[in-house]
Each structure stands twice: as structure tokens, then as C-alpha cells.
């Protein structure tokens, strides 16, 4: 039993600590580890335009591979990270970025969740205040004589 648990922990740790290689093939990797790390970071931000919901770092589509190689070529040629991204945005539009830039036509996208959350909290606060007011206003009226007598009789019956 103890051995099993230990084994499970080792497997989970191994899975957590293993390096994520994405879809990058060995022949794509740059000899310069700094450039390679930058290429990996940029690739994670770029959409594979064939598969659409994967980054080119994750996708094994042929076009994603060619884009990864292009990213590395641009970095070797001395481009900055933002220049590499701009190069692809010029050709594929903002669609190629997995994280869309904040601009006029994406404001709703960026602020939408916050607006929803604020509206929900606002509505909840409004509801709470309203029900509190209702409590103070609509306190139950005192018992009538008839009800009072009924209550007394019920208590006596119990005793």
C-alpha cells in the first residue's frame, strides 16, 4: 500500500516536472538557447491558422511547423519579439494572435467579463438592500384577540 502511494507520487511529480516540448521537432530547435526560449514564448502566442484553436507551438500541422521555422529565422536575423509578431499580423491580421490586442473593436471582448461581474454584483447588492427594507416595513402585525386565545388554548393543551 505504502509502496503504491510512493509510486503514484513519483509518477505525478514526473508528469509535472517534465519539460513541455510542444510540437517543436528536434531539427527546428535553434542552437542558441536564449533565442530558442524566445522563439518558444512567441510561438505560444501565435495561432495555428489551420487548426485555429492551438498555438503554433502546440500544433503539428505542416503550416504551423513552417511558421515556427519562420519565427526562428526572423529571430536569428535580429528581429525583436514584437517585430516577429508584427510580421505575421501584417500577413494574417490580428487573428494570428491568440491574445487579441486592446483596441476599439476588441474593447467589449476585454471589458465584457468585468461589465458582467459588476452588473451581477450591482444587482445582488440592490436585491439585498431591497429585501432588508422590506423586512423593516412589513413587520408582521400583532396577533388579534381571537388568535391570542387560540394560541393560549394550544399551549394549555400541550401542558
Amino acid at each position: 500500500m505504502r509502496g503504491n502511494l510512493l509510486g503514484a507520487i513519483v509518477i505525478v511529480l514526473a508528469a509535472l516536472l517534465s519539460l513541455d516540448a510542444g510540437a517543436v521537432l528536434p531539427d527546428e530547435v535553434l542552437p542558441n538557447p536564449v533565442l530558442e526560449a524566445r522563439a518558444r514564448a512567441i510561438s505560444k502566442e501565435l495561432r495555428c491558422v489551420v487548426c485555429q484553436n492551438q498555438s503554433i507551438d502546440d500544433s503539428s500541422a505542416p503550416l504551423a511547423r513552417d511558421m515556427r521555422i519562420l519565427v526562428r529565422e526572423r529571430l536569428v536575423a535580429g528581429d525583436s519579439d514584437s517585430q516577429v509578431k508584427a510580421y505575421l499580423v501584417e500577413r494574417y491580421g490580428n487573428f494570428v494572435l491568440l491574445r487579441p490586442p486592446v483596441q476599439a473593436d476588441t474593447l467589449l471582448l476585454w471589458l465584457g467579463p468585468a461589465i458582467f461581474l459588476l452588473t451581477a454584483f450591482g444587482g445582488f447588492a440592490f436585491y439585498l438592500r431591497k429585501s432588508k427594507n422590506q423586512l423593516t416595513i412589513t413587520a408582521p402585525p400583532p396577533l388579534s384577540d381571537e388568535e391570542d386565545a387560540l394560541l393560549k388554548r394550544a399551549i394549555e393543551d400541550q401542558a
Binding site: 489551420v50 485555429q52 513552417d66 500577413r91 491580421g93
Partner: protein, 179 residues
Amino acid sequence: MKLSVFAPLAVMIAIGVGLGVGLTNDPRALPSALVDKPLPDFDLPPVRAEERGFSHEDVKGEVALINVFASWCISCRIEHPTLMRLADEKRVPLYGVDWRDKREDGAAWLAAFGDPFKLVGEDQNSKLAIELGVTGAPETYVIDHTGRIRYKQIGPITEDVWREVIEPLILSLEQEAAS
């Protein structure tokens, strides 16, 4: 019962309708970032060794189509008869980009189904494809007489697409060129 209790329901319905309309959009129909931009510089090697490929200089000067195809591309077979007809009628010069394909496969494909292209080049490493913003095959770029990209057709040029989209565009571009 106050009407305001229906407010959340109304909001949910509005969101549902909005998202439902969103579902009808084709996520593959991307606007090309390159429309109205000049054709990038390129020089493609040939698919058939005995021929020459083509460069951006070849395409300039008249209204033309650049078609991205490949032997592995199933949808390219769908549009091929239309391209062959256009070539037979000499309607508009067609240039072929054999994308991410083995040369011999591309050449065999053209030999088997017919070659509608004025010139054919191959783009094995997606160099031109990425310059053009290609997302898949087939894709066709309409180039005007000044060498600018004016339209990008994603997916096959069926007879319908030709009649309703490409031909009217080419007619207006040819008028533009003549005036």
C-alpha cells in the same frame, strides 16, 4: 408581479440570440489582411524541372489569378474543372502555386488532371504561403493590373463562386485597368 423580474430572462435571451447568430458565422472566412496591398516579392522554383517557375514580375501588368493548390488537397479537385474551363477560354491568366508538395507529386497531379496554369511554381516551405497569409488550400488571389491583391478566395472556386464573386470582380478590375 413586476415586469422587472423578467429582466434577467430578457438578458439571457438576448445573449442566447447573439451567440446563436455567432454560430452561423464561418470561422474559416477570415478577411485577408493583405487586400489592397501589393503582391509581395517572390521567385518560385518550377514544379517541372524543364520549365521555369514564376516571380511577382510575371504576374504584374494585367488582371490575374494566383491559385494555391497541392496534390494532397482534396478540395482542389473540386475547383479544377472550373480552372480548366477558364484556361480553355483564356478568360484570365492563372498562376499556380504548388504548396507544401513534392515536386513530382505536383507534376503528376497536373499531368493527370490537366494544367490550367500559365506558369507554375512550387512553395515547399510555405515561404510565399506565409507572405500571402495562406491558411489552407485551395486559396486564390485576385491580382489587379498594378500588381495589388484585391481579393482572396478561401476554398474552391466552384462555378457559383466564379459567377457570383470572381467574374464580376475581374470585370470591374479590367474596366479599372482600361480607364
